[in-house]
Each structure stands twice: as C-alpha cells, then as structure tokens.
Point group: C2
Chain length 246, copies 2
C-alpha cells in the first residue's frame, strides 16, 4: 500500500466544487472515477480542502492509498488519460503513511483575480471577475494588510460555517497589478467557508470607497458577518498553492 | 446615413467562423442580430476578413451603414447589451463613406499561441495549442524570417483557395517567448485561406526538426501545398490587429 500525493489543476466552471456531495458532479467524483478506471480501486481521495462551485485550482493537492504498481512518476500522465479536459493532474509523489492532504497542510494561498478593462477580456472571463469602475488599489492594499495576523475571522465567514473555532492566521495579503487587471493573493494557515471571497468582496468595497481601509480592524473585532463586504463571485477565485512541511 | 466602424473581440470556440454561411452560427450572424435588436435595421456588416471555425479575435474590425442616431461613442456599450458573453464590442468610431473594413485594411496581424507546458494550462486551453515536445525556437525564428517579403504563397494556402493571385506581402513574422509558452506573430497585407495556420504548422515542424529553416525558401518556390507543414489547429489562432490608413 502506497500513499500517493498528487497536485491537480482544474477549471471549476462546470462543477459543483471539489468535494463529493449528494448533488454530484464534483471534481473529487471525477478524479475518483478516473482512478477507478485506471486501477480498479474504489478508493476515496483526501483533498487539501473543498473549493466552492465555480472556483478553480492551479494547485489543489490530494492523497490516496493505493495497491497499484503504477510508478509514481507515471501517475500524472496515466490519470490524465482518464480525466476530462478541464481537470489535469500535474505531478505525483509518494509520501509517508502519516501524510494527509488536509491535516498536513501548513499554508494555503488563494488568488482572486479582477479584470479591470472597460469591456471584459473574453479570454480570461471564466477565471477573472470583471469590474470596470476605478479601484483605489493603495487603499485596498492597506485594508488587506490589516487582516494579517491571528484573528477570529467570524466577520469574514459565511454564517453557514460549522467550524468550532473561527480563529485563523493570515500570513500575507497583497495585490499584484498588471495591465488591465489585478490579483489579490491571500496566504493563511486555513480558511473558513467563503472567507477568501468575503475578503475579496471587502477589498473591492474598499477600492470603491464604500468602506475605508481603516474600517477593517473594527470589522474583525465585530465578529459579525454583516459588517464586512459582499461575498465576491466564485469564478474569480483560484486555489493557488498548498504548502506542506518538507 | 453614417458609416460606423467597430472593433470586436470574440472567443470563436463555439462558432462556425466569422462570416455568414449556409450552416449558420457565425459571429457575423450574431452581431447583425444584435444590431437589429438595437436599431431595427436589417443590415449587413463588412468584416475585415473571415476567420475559420474555432479561430478567435482580439481585434476584428467591421463597418456598417446605419440610420441610427445612437452616438458613436455609445455604440460599443449599447451593442454589448445584445451580444452573448463570448463576443464583445470594444470601440466604435464614425468613418467616411468610402471606408470598407476589408478593402481599406492596410495590414493584418495574427497571433498563433502555443502552450509548451508538460501538461496543458487549463486556463488558456481554448486559445493556445498544447505542444509539449521541445521546440527549437531559434530555428523557428529563422524559418519565419524567410517568409518575410512579397511572395507567391501557394505552398502556404489551402488547396481550396479561390483567390486569383496568391501573391501576398509578409512584413513581419516573429516569436515572443514567455514562461510555458510561445506566441508566433505574423503581419501581412493580407492572408490566403488557412495561410497563418499553415505558417504556424510549418514553424512547429521546423521547431521539431521535421523541416529545416533553410527549407522555407524552397517551399515558397515550389508553389505546392504538400511541401509545407500541416495546417495547425484553429484554436491557437487569433486575429490580433487590423491596421488602416490614418
């Protein structure tokens, strides 16, 4: 029995999110079906975490225990022959039996991408949120900086969150500007349900002047979802990278 | 009656090309229907040229004569309310009555985009051709350079071409490299049916070593389609820019 870790990218446009759920059509279902058609094994994969319907991944990570003798460096190529064109395995390695994609994760980085062109750039429309009105990027940066640290992020979690604790640590929250767009990157030790989308929605409100950067500390302290900005559209969000201890 | 020129971008994935044809589902049909729903006019637009099924445009240009009093600087915004999400009008201006998007065009630039990552970048898969095997980019550049000038491009035209003359001028043919990809840009005074895709296919064969850069002059001289490389897949191609006299 080997414990295989894989990195996978997906275009979440047509899926009900990563994690298996009763309504079906999830990334996890498709990957598990792919593995079954490859090895005959009816196994479950452990994802590093769920992503919402419509959210994408550049580097989602999962692991699974397999009896298969497929050499680990052939796994990505082999699995890709069984995956649809909007899910692609990027690499695989063998890890020790105590590795679990979710519990072993140290840091996660998400990107929220905004197309600021007057009219949308069609070729990125499925993974960038189009927002033409001018955004005050330096105010957005200042607001994001106020999130860094260990806080109770109740104000930035869906009221449907079932987590016992809403305390999380954000290590970095920054913006990269490019021609016709900007990318918000947020790195933390874990994220609550809808947390990055609410951070993005709040940053956009700050950029629009509907909130001030200096409001962010008070929003955190309020522990009240209604104080933060809206939940930004899912299609702008991408799970960028999951970091594990060496 | 005003002559309006518009620049439009489209994702050609789901269309049978730009120009109206019996089988329907063309970009032109959709734009003309959009104009009709806006002004009530049953008019024909003049495109700068056709693009094949599956080919995209960043800056296709068309013109049309209209009685509408919509101010020209409102046309793009207005038309976009009547267009699907994979076609977007970018700008409009009023031009003199002797302007015709096809006959007045001075130069056209196409881009052919190649994803060279081991596994495809999902987020560009509809507008880049995935080709992982190593490509000799300097040989490709040398081969493309040999196309520059005025030549009979019969070897680089579909045998279905109905043009009387196959003489065209290529002003520039170059490659831009980026991380995980390369873009071939070709600028000319006009292109024959499938010409840019055959140029791209030939450049890829040179990159793979199936042809030599020094073969290109002979291929041109042969005036024989079978001497050039294959017709590259349409989805990597994008009409980039159409230039008109000031």
């Amino acid at each position: 029995m080997r414990n295989v870790r894989m990195v996978v990218s997906y275009d979440g446009t047509h899926y009900n999110g990563f994690q298996t759920q009763p309504s079906g059509n999830t990334i996890q279902d498709v990957i598990e079906a792919g593995i079954k058609s490859l090895t005959g094994e009816d196994l479950r994969i452990n994802g590093s975490g769920r992503t919402d319907a419509g959210v994408h991944a550049k580097g989602q990570v999962f692991n699974f225990l397999t009896e298969s003798r497929i050499p680990v460096d052939r796994w990505a190529l082999a699995l890709n022959t069984r995956l649809p064109e909007d899910i692609v395995a990027l690499r695989a390695d063998e890890v020790s039996h105590d590795f679990h994609a979710r519990f072993s994760a140290k840091k996660k980085t998400y990107r929220y991408s905004i197309d600021t062109n007057k009219f949308p750039d069609l070729f990125t429309r499925h993974h960038r949120f189009h927002h033409h009105a001018p955004l005050n990027v330096s105010a957005m940066r200042e607001g994001l900086a106020a999130l860094v640290g260990e806080h109770d992020f109740t104000s930035f979690a869906s009221t449907q969150s079932t987590q016992l604790s809403h305390v999380r640590t954000i290590y970095e929250a920054s913006i990269e500007e490019s021609e016709g767009g900007l990318d918000i990157f947020v790195t933390g030790n874990g994220f609550l349900y809808n947390m990055v989308r609410i951070i993005a929605g709040t940053a956009i409100w700050i950029g629009e002047g509907k909130l001030e950067a200096s409001d962010v500390s008070g929003i955190i302290q309020a522990k009240d979802r209604t104080k933060a900005g809206p939940t930004a559209m899912p299609h702008g969000l991408m799970l960028w990278h999951v970091e594990y201890p060496e």
